[in-house]
């Protein structure tokens, strides 16, 4: 079913909206959740929570890109769940991603007063100014939490080429954040 038709079902408060969303976007959202949580049960729970959140959010919201809208909810829920886990249970890509992102923050804690929305706008602008390969690789890694190996396979690249590209993008992002006055500790 087309996204517009699914969104219409939400607006009509038709419960088929959830079924159609699950049918079309379960694999997409599951991949995001699984990348972060590395656990099937937790990932499935996140998916169910995502459908619930979407049901409550539409209306009044009318997503322009339904996949991104749902993906964001899944990602946020998965991150929340990940953070609630005990430290010893942590693992997977997110620990590696956290280490890699030190390049953007010089390894220091980001300022508590950091405005997430404003920083997101700066990052969006930065990515739109970057070349396609760099922004796609960056988002696959730090938004979708794909492993380096998965990204390399997805785009027919060597892992070293992916790492090299990501490293350069992180360094450039750090420069941009500092230039824009984002406090990094």
């Amino acid at each position: 079913m087309e996204d517009l038709a699914i969104i219409r079902l939400y607006w009509d408060r038709d419960e088929r909206a959830v079924a159609e969303t699950d049918l079309k976007y379960h694999p997409y959202c599951y991949t995001i959740a699984r990348n972060i949580l590395t656990n099937h049960e937790d990932s499935e729970e996140c998916i169910n929570d995502t459908w619930f959140r979407a049901w409550n959010a539409i209306p009044p919201q009318r997503p322009q890109i339904l996949s991104a809208f749902l993906g964001k909810i899944t990602r946020n829920l998965s991150l929340d769940r990940y953070r609630k886990r005990t430290a010893e249970k942590r693992g997977g890509e997110l620990n590696l991603i956290d280490l890699e992102l030190d390049d953007c923050t010089s390894g220091r804690e980001i300022d508590e007063d950091l405005n997430v929305e404003e920083t997101a706008r700066i990052i969006s602008r930065f990515l739109k100014e970057s070349d396609l390969a760099s922004r796609v690789l960056f988002l696959r890694r730090y938004w979708y939490a794909d492993s380096i190996g998965v990204i390399a396979k997805r785009y027919s690249m060597s892992e070293s080429a992916v790492k090299s590209n990501l490293h350069r993008t992180r360094v450039k992002l750090k420069e941009r954040l500092e230039k824009e006055g984002v406090t990094v500790g």
Partner: protein, 305 residues
């Protein structure tokens, strides 16, 4: 985690970026390299066929000249008709020349394979060895340039498109990847690019991202210069919007912190730095055509002899 807030901020980037990262396709994988026998077998078969036909023509020519064949008349004809025999010999040599011409052409193709930028594992460079330079990128259509010293600065700097690009170009063809770039006769395939083209009812965007240019020492195309202070570029002209270039000094291999130097580009001519040393060049071309659009980076080194 230390970077929780940054992760949250990344999570809130524009939906269009998230969507793009999900739907951008990878560049198509190059076709498998033909095996030795597939590559050379056809040439050998052609040679055998041409030699066979040549001998056949000579043989038949003699038969038809003397109305039939028997060993004695053939011998007799050979003894008597020295002039026609010589003509036949000429023809044979001519045809043999064709054969060797074909052979040398094949050799040229293989020579170009050797100078083609080898891709990092899995990347999509070096299509030339698979005969994929079909369409406008074929050397026959955009012949390798001959450098004319002193042409730099002769271009029309007021034109928005590179010199010679807006001329009588034939109607553009659909290109599903950036065309080859020709520099001093060397064919260079793009090492990194993003490329958009019609794919059915939709526009498809693909990208290829190889290794960082300074990590390509073993695979990059090397171009010999003979006192040249500029380089002329040749490629598909339709839709060519801009050319820019920068370079690293030749000893920058593996140096992630090396500072690039911007190069002057006048039309399709790049002026090299004054120093007569080796340079590692990155040339970026952009196209905007109804059948394709995108930008592509080409990497090569230049070495002054």
């Amino acid at each position: 985690m230390k970077n929780d807030k940054l992760l949250d901020a990344i999570g809130q980037v524009d939906d269009s970026l998230i969507d793009e990262a999900e739907h951008v396709r990878r560049a198509p994988k190059p076709k498998p390299t033909p095996s030795f026998w597939r590559r050379w077998g056809s040439l050998v078969a052609t040679l055998i066929l041409v030699i066979g036909l040549t001998c056949g023509f000579i043989f038949l020519g003699r038969i038809f000249s003397f109305g039939g064949f028997d060993s004695s008349s053939y011998q007799e004809a050979s003894d008597m008709e020295s002039v026609p025999s010589g003509e036949d010999t000429e023809t044979t040599e001519e045809e043999a020349g064709d054969v060797s011409g074909e052979s040398s052409q094949e050799g040229t193709l293989n020579a170009s394979e050797k100078i083609t930028d080898e891709s990092s594992p899995g990347s999509t460079e070096d299509h030339s060895s698979y005969g994929q330079a079909a369409g406008p990128a074929e050397p026959e259509e955009t012949a390798p340039m001959t450098h004319t010293p002193g042409t730099a600065g002769e271009g029309n700097a007021e034109t928005t498109k590179p010199e010679g690009i807006t001329g009588d170009s034939p109607e553009s063809e659909l290109l599903t990847e950036p065309p080859a770039l020709y520099v001093n006769g060397a064919e260079i395939r793009s090492g990194s690019y993003e490329w958009t083209f019609p794919d059915g009812d939709e526009m498809s965007t693909i990208f290829a991202c190889g290794a960082f240019v300074l990590d390509r020492e073993d695979t990059i195309t090397a171009i010999q210069l003979y006192g040249q202070d500029s380089l002329k570029l040749e490629t598909v002209e339709n839709g060519l919007e801009s050319i820019s270039a920068y370079c690293y000094s030749g000893d920058s291999w593996g140096n992630d912190q090396a500072e690039p130097m911007e190069l002057t580009v006048d039309g399709t001519v790049i002026t090299l730095p004054d120093d007569s040393q080796d340079w590692i060049l990155v040339v970026t071309l952009t196209w905007e055509d109804e059948n394709y659009s995108g930008n592509a980076e080409y990497y090569f080194t230049v070495h002054q002899n």
